[in-house]
Structure formats: structure tokens, C-alpha cells
């Protein structure tokens, strides 16, 4: 997390996640690892105990990697109570910097060719102006993907997130065929597109039900970074965009933030003429786009080819 982002609005946003969702991940970590004899680093981290108390522990006593999340499937399947996550993408701000892709890959320990997020050059008609459009999973409220899953391995949580249980997925790829947004990707081989896990443990954002070491032959996609949001952070793509293109927030609180600016969601959508991608398919996406009007950057063609090798 960058220092300059630590302003008031941001802190406000951080609070809800920490209080609401920190419990699950942290308590697992506590139970398993607080007994460790590692020397203290002095850096304190606030976590919630299983009986609901906030305590401060040394950061070295908290270990996230290798946690068996499947035992907590019930909570992970239900989502974070009281939340309705939503994303707003301001197309006027996107300059195809592609930092969101990079940030997403880093957070999820992925590398090329796996991109949960793509920046697509759009041009509707001959005469209309081209623009860049970040696209990823829309976390639809009427998701075509979860409907067709034969084993409930991909499901809709109450907090709006469409998640995948990679421990259950049988790899039939029906959800990929069903998704009209091409948002899903597949683990075609062992450690497919997995970046090397950092030496100092795992800094990545692991999806609920995701198992880093046993993922071959299962489907993956953008997960709205629930591990980060439950820590009270904004998703990786939001944090890494240099232009503040992507806003994330809670529809129940009617607030979205890109880390610098915070808006009242309903007003922003109304004022800026927001729309959803492929609205007429009836998928009810939870990602809104603000049309590319009054652009902050002139459109520049991409001179480099991206993601060219497997």
C-alpha cells in the first residue's frame, strides 16, 4: 500500500473491511500459528480472535500461506455480511497504462499469460472514437457461469462476489463457455501462469477456496480481492492504477473510492451516465462503466504487443 494513499477517505473505507471480514482469515492464522517460536519483529498487526476480541500480535506470528481455507467454506461461500461490493470504471481516465494488470498479477502471484484483467481497445463503429476499456469478471447478479456449474464450484456470495472453489472444480469449463465476457481463464498445466512465491512467505491475495499448489485443471478469474477487502484494503487493480480509473466500494454504503477520491455511488452513476457492459444480455453486472467523455488523456494506439508468449 502506498503512503500517499493514506488519506482520510481511504481510512474510512479501510475500517469496514477490517471490522467485518478480518475475522475469518486472521483467526485461522491465529489458531495455527500463534504458538510459533519465531523472534518478534516489533511490527504489530491487529487481528480479531475467534471470540470476537481485537488483539495486537507481532507480524511474524501471523502466517497466511498454506492455510487450509476449505474448512471455512461456509463463511467463504456466504461472503462478508452486510456488504455489496461494486466496481465503477471511469473510461475517461484510462490511458492503457496496464498497471492494473500488473498489480493484479502481483497480488495473485500470477504472471503471463494469465490476466484476470484485460485492457481492451474498443471501437464500436467506423466513425466512433476508440477508447481503452479494462475488462474482467463483472460479478454479475444474474451470473450465467454459476447457473451452469455442475458441482457448485463457482457460486454467488451474498456480498456480490462470484467466487470459485478451486478445490471442488472438476474442470469441465462449462462456466467459461457460458460467460459472455470471456472473463474466466483456466489452469492448463501445473503452475500455469503462477509467479514464483516470494521468499518471505506469500504476499498474494488468495481467493476463498483457492489452493495454490493444487490448481491444475481448474478455472480461475478475478475475485474482487476478498482477502484484501476483508483486510480493509482496496483491490489490487484499484491500488495500482496511476490514473484512478477504477473505483471500488460497497453499494449498501453507497460509496466508491479509487484510493484518492471517494464518491457517493448513486450520484456518480447518475451524473456521469454510467452503463454496464452488454446490458441487454440481462446478466446484471456489478461493474459499471462511466463513458469516455471529457477524457483526461488523448487516445494513443498501443505500439507494443502485450502478453505474446505462453
Amino acid at each position: 500500500m502506498k503512503e500517499e494513499n493514506e488519506n482520510n477517505s481511504r481510512r474510512k473505507f479501510l475500517k469496514f473491511g477490517l471490522l467485518a471480514g478480518g475475522a475469518t482469515i486472521a483467526s485461522i492464522g491465529l489458531q495455527k500459528n500463534i504458538m510459533g517460536e519465531t523472534p518478534a519483529s516489533g511490527e504489530k498487526i491487529k487481528v480479531m480472535t475467534p471470540d470476537g476480541k481485537l488483539v495486537e500480535i507481532d507480524s511474524t506470528h501471523l502466517e497466511k500461506s498454506g492455510v487450509d481455507l476449505t474448512a471455512y467454506n461456509k463463511e467463504l461461500r456466504d461472503g462478508i455480511a452486510g456488504k455489496k461490493f461494486i466496481k465503477v470504471i471511469d473510461l475517461a481516465r484510462c490511458a492503457n497504462a496496464r498497471k492494473c494488470i500488473q498489480g493484479c498479477q502481483e497480488a495473485h502471484s500470477r504472471q503471463a499469460p494469465v490476466e484476470f484483467l484485460k485492457v481492451i481497445k474498443m471501437k464500436e463503429t467506423e466513425l466512433s472514437a476508440p477508447y481503452w476499456m479494462p475488462q474482467s469478471c463483472n460479478h454479475c447478479d444474474n451470473p450465467p457461469c454459476t447457473k451452469v456449474c455442475p458441482v457448485d464450484a463457482t457460486f454467488k456470495r451474498k456480498d456480490g462476489i462470484v467466487a470459485i472453489d478451486s478445490e471442488r472444480c472438476i474442470g469441465c469449463r462449462f462456466c467459461m463457455a457460458a460467460c459472455p465476457y470471456s472473463a474466466r481463464s483456466f489452469n492448463w498445466g501445473e503452475n500455469w501462469g503462477i509467479a514464483k512465491v516470494k521468499a518471505d512467505g506469500d504476499a498474494s491475495c488468495i481467493s476463498p477456496g483457492e489452493n495454490l499448489s493444487n490448481r491444475m485443471g481448474t478455472v480461475q478469474k478475478c475475485d474482487f480481492c476478498p482477502e484484501m477487502t476483508s483486510r480493509g484494503e482496496l483491490p489490487a487493480c484499484v491500488q495500482s492504477c496511476p490514473n484512478g480509473t477504477i473505483f471500488f466500494g460497497d453499494a449498501n454504503e453507497d460509496v466508491v473510492s479509487n484510493g484518492e477520491d471517494t464518491f457517493r455511488l448513486s450520484e456518480l452513476l447518475k451524473k456521469r451516465g454510467a452503463y454496464r457492459y452488454l446490458e441487454d444480455l440481462g446478466t446484471e453486472p456489478r461493474v459499471y462503466y462511466l463513458p469516455p467523455v471529457n477524457r483526461q488523456f488523448p487516445f494513443e494506439e498501443d505500439t507494443v504487443k502485450h502478453n505474446t508468449t505462453e
Binding site: V119, M176, F186, M216
Partner: protein
């Protein structure tokens, strides 16, 4: 014995033959159909070894796929379904012919279907067997197949497919087995020089058949119940297979026409498969007396009719959207009609559908040799058509394909996929071949019944 008569398709009136004549017919036919079971020639042996070799290559390819994951295939995030799925659809399609020949023709009193029932039914069983296998091969995590039962969601078309495919497999196997029991008993009694396991198998499968009155009654009753049951099952299995595509929002699959379109195509492809099998068995096993030119002629007419029905659904499937040329669908249709897929698309539509209709309208074309050539063209066309139904649609999503490795925006199957699919085709042929080497390929009682010779009556006079 009352002298009943019946009228067959060609309006020949049969009257009951004298008992001695009937018995002579029965023995003669028994020897004719048992001959291929008694002896296997050199060509037969080479054929079986060849099929096993193809299957072994496929097994090795599958071992590599299991070890390394699906990255050994040409499939990637956009074309995430490919050859395996189109081959699955093809196998389900050809398996429908069992219901068509054994049930529809039977219930509508087309008497000439009688010697064809077993050929149609073994194609159905072999087809549905390998359809089930190929879908497991397509899975990224076949080790988790039990999740379908532990966590199965009845709302998913895949679960519907599992249910109908397994039900259809069981009913087709029964539909093959029940009318076969008298023939198994015959093998048990006649083929005493076969190896012990084979004799044991005949004895086991014949379940004590001795042709008594009650056995005949139960068997015939069960067969007529099955022949009614199998029709809705066959239609649902291919309709559900069509729904695997039609329940998505993809341009090209998002069609209300898909169920009947698939069923019509399946009947057409399956009929062509039966014609090819008839031709091969007639030549290889000298079945000229039973699989006559009349049968080929009638099957040719059936193929014309089914090709016309299929053409009708193709018009609905392609020309109606082509009239509108709506957005994303227009890209797909242009690629099919005039783009990179157009040689295959028009090849399939012309050689697999249009030409058969025109050529087979003329009687000389319905002789065995020309008919089997046209049927081959229909089957190849049917296989390629399934490929066209799956792959181009996967590669024409709503969202433009950008910033992906070059091999992601095209699809070409790797040698692994080709070997596995070849192995599955070889598997279907091997099941049919081995079956024909263990059991008579023409049903004696059904065929003779068509000639006015009732084996049930004969058996019970004997006892």
C-alpha cells in the same frame, strides 16, 4: 397353427410356410449368422490388431495429458472447448440411431427394419459408451468426477446430461441384450469348441434360456416396453446435449432451434452409420441373403428424408440469423459463409446434406455401393459439422480477443487430441467388431418373424 398373414412395406403378402420348411429356414439362418462367430479370418484379425494399436497410442496420449494437464492440447482460454466436445456431440448423435431403427421403425410397422436392429443397437451402445468416456477425457480434473454425485447441482445441464446419458446407456444395453438372449442361448448350445471363458460367458448371459413359452412372452413384452421408452430418452439425450450450448449467451449457440436441430442431425448421421455398417457386414460376413438390396434402397430413402429434415433445421439455424445479421452473430456467420471456415462449412453443407438429398432421389444411387459412398460423405460431414458447431463459436466471443499469445486466438488440435479422438473412434469400431465376433449380428427370431416364421411357436411345439 393358425395361418396368419401380414403385409410388409413392399406389399408382399406372406403366408405361413409348412412347419418342415420353417425349421429348415431356421437352421439355415442359424448357420449363416453363426459363421462369423465361429471363424475369424486374417483380415478380421489384422483389423482388430490395428484398432487396438490406435487405442494404445490414444491411451499413451491420454497418459501425457493426465500428467501434464490440458496444456498439451490446442485448447486455451478462448477455445476452451474443442475437438473432445465436438467428438462427444458426434458420438451422442450416432447413438440415437438405435432408437430410430429399433423403435420408431418397429412401432410404425416398417417390417424391413428387422435384420438391422442389432446393427443399429450396437452402434448406439458403442457410441454412447465412448461419448461418456470422451467427456471424462475433456475434464480438467477427472480425479474429482465423484463431485458430480457429492455436490451435483440439478440446475446444471451437465448433470442433466450425466443422468440422460447413463439412462440411455442402460436402456440401449438392455435393448441390445434382451432380443439377443435367444441368440446367446444358441451360442451356448452350438459353440462348444470355444474357449472356456467364452462358453462361461454365453452360459451366464443366456440366463437359462430354453425357449419356453413364458420366457418368450417376458422377453417380447420387455422389448416392446423398451422400444417405447427409448424414444423419449433418445430425444432427451441429444436435446440436453444441444442445451449444453443453447443455455449459454454466446452468439451462435444462443438459439431456441438447437434441440430439434441436433436431434435431426443425429438421426441423419446415425442412419448413414448404419448403412456403412450394413455394407461392411454384408461383405465381410456374407449376409447378402439378409441385408438385401431392398434394405439398402429403403435405408437410402430414409436418408433422403432425414437429410431433408436436417436441411430444414439448417435453414432455420443459419439463414434466419443471416437475414438479420445482428452484431456479434454477423461476425460469426460471415466467417462461416465467406471467411476462414467457409471451405469446411460449404463442404459439409453440400456433401453432407444437399448432395445426398439430390443424388439419393434416384433409385440407382440407392444400390449398396453408391449408397455407402454417399453415407461415408454424410458421416464425415456430420463429424466436421460438430466441429463447426463448437470451435468457431468459442472463437467469436462478444468481447474482442486482444493481448493474448498468438495460439490463443486460433484453435488447432494437437497430436495428443487427434490421437485420443482417433482412439475413441477406434474404440467404437472395436466394440462393434468384437461384439460381432462374439454374437450373431442379425437377430434370427426378429428376421424370421418378419418372414412369418414364429420361433416362439416353434420352440413350444418342440417342448
Amino acid at each position: 397353427m393358425d395361418s396368419h398373414t401380414y403385409i410388409d412395406l413392399d406389399h408382399h403378402i406372406h403366408t405361413t410356410l409348412p412347419m418342415e420348411e420353417q425349421k429348415r429356414h431356421r437352421v439355415e439362418m442359424r448357420e449363416d449368422v453363426l459363421r462369423p462367430v465361429r471363424h475369424t479370418g486374417l483380415i478380421g484379425k489384422v483389423w482388430i490388431v490395428f484398432l487396438i494399436a490406435v487405442m494404445l497410442v490414444g491411451a499413451y496420449a491420454y497418459y501425457l495429458q493426465l500428467k501434464n494437464g490440458l496444456k498439451v492440447t490446442g485448447l486455451r482460454d478462448y477455445a476452451s472447448w474443442g475437438l473432445y466436445i465436438s467428438n462427444f456431440v458426434f458420438f451422442v448423435a450416432i447413438s440415437l440411431v438405435g432408437a430410430l431403427i429399433s423403435s420408431v421403425l418397429r412401432l410404425t410397422n416398417f417390417e424391413w427394419h428387422r435384420p438391422l436392429t442389432r446393427i443399429a443397437e450396437i452402434i448406439a451402445v458403442a457410441g454412447i459408451m465412448f461419448a461418456g468416456l470422451i467427456i471424462i477425457i475433456d475434464m480438467g480434473r477427472p480425479d474429482r468426477i465423484l463431485n458430480l454425485f457429492i455436490h451435483g447441482r440439478i440446475q446444471s445441464p451437465i448433470v442433466w446430461d450425466v443422468i440422460v446419458v447413463s439412462t440411455y446407456f442402460v436402456s440401449s444395453a438392455l435393448f441390445l441384450y434382451l432380443p439377443l438372449i435367444p441368440a446367446i442361448a444358441l451360442c451356448r448350445d452350438q459353440l462348444t469348441n470355444k474357449p472356456a471363458w467364452q462358453r462361461w460367458m454365453y452360459k451366464f448371459l443366456a440366463i437359462g434360456w430354453d425357449g419356453n413359452d413364458q420366457q418368450w412372452k417376458i422377453m417380447k413384452r420387455a422389448v416392446s416396453i423398451l422400444s417405447v421408452l427409448v424414444i423419449p430418452l433418445a430425444i432427451s439425450i441429444h436435446t440436453v446435449t444441444a442445451w449444453l450450448f443453447a443455455t449459454t449467451l454466446r452468439p451462435g449457440w444462443d438459439s431456441t432451434n438447437f434441440g430439434p436441430y441436433f436431434v435431426a442431425g443425429a438421426f441423419q448421421a446415425g442412419t448413414a452409420c448404419v448403412i456403412i455398417a450394413m455394407y461392411v457386414f454384408r461383405k465381410a460376413y456374407s449376409f447378402e441373403k439378409y441385408l438385401t438390396d431392398v434394405h439398402f434402397n429403403n435405408m437410402g430413402k430414409l436418408l433422403v428424408f432425414l437429410s431433408m429434415v436436417y436441411a430444414y433445421f439448417n435453414v432455420n439455424e443459419y439463414l434466419v440469423p443471416a437475414y438479420k445479421m445482428r452484431g456479434a452473430e454477423a461476425n460469426l456467420l460471415n466467417d462461416l459463409f465467406t471467411g476462414p471456415y467457409s471451405p469446411v462449412y460449404w463442404g459439409v453443407q453440400v456433401f453432407g446434406m444437399a448432395l445426398p438429398v439430390i443424388i439419393l432421389l434416384f433409385k440407382p444411387a440407392r444400390r449398396p455401393l453408391p449408397l455407402v459412398i454417399i453415407s461415408l460423405s454424410v458421416v464425415v460431414g456430420a463429424w466436421l459439422k460438430r466441429y463447426l458447431i463448437v470451435t468457431p463459436i468459442m472463437l467469436h466471443p462478444y468481447s474482442p480477443i486482444q493481448n493474448v499469445p498468438p495460439n490463443w486466438s486460433v484453435y488447432f488440435p494437437t497430436w495428443i487430441e487427434i490421437s485420443i479422438v482417433s482412439a475413441s473412434l477406434a474404440g467404437v469400431l472395436l466394440v462393434i467388431t468384437l461384439f460381432s465376433k462374439l454374437f450373431p449380428m442379425i437377430s434370427i427370431w426378429e428376421t424370421l418373424e418378419g418372414e412369418g416364421i414364429d420361433l416362439e411357436e416353434m420352440d413350444n411345439q418342440k417342448s
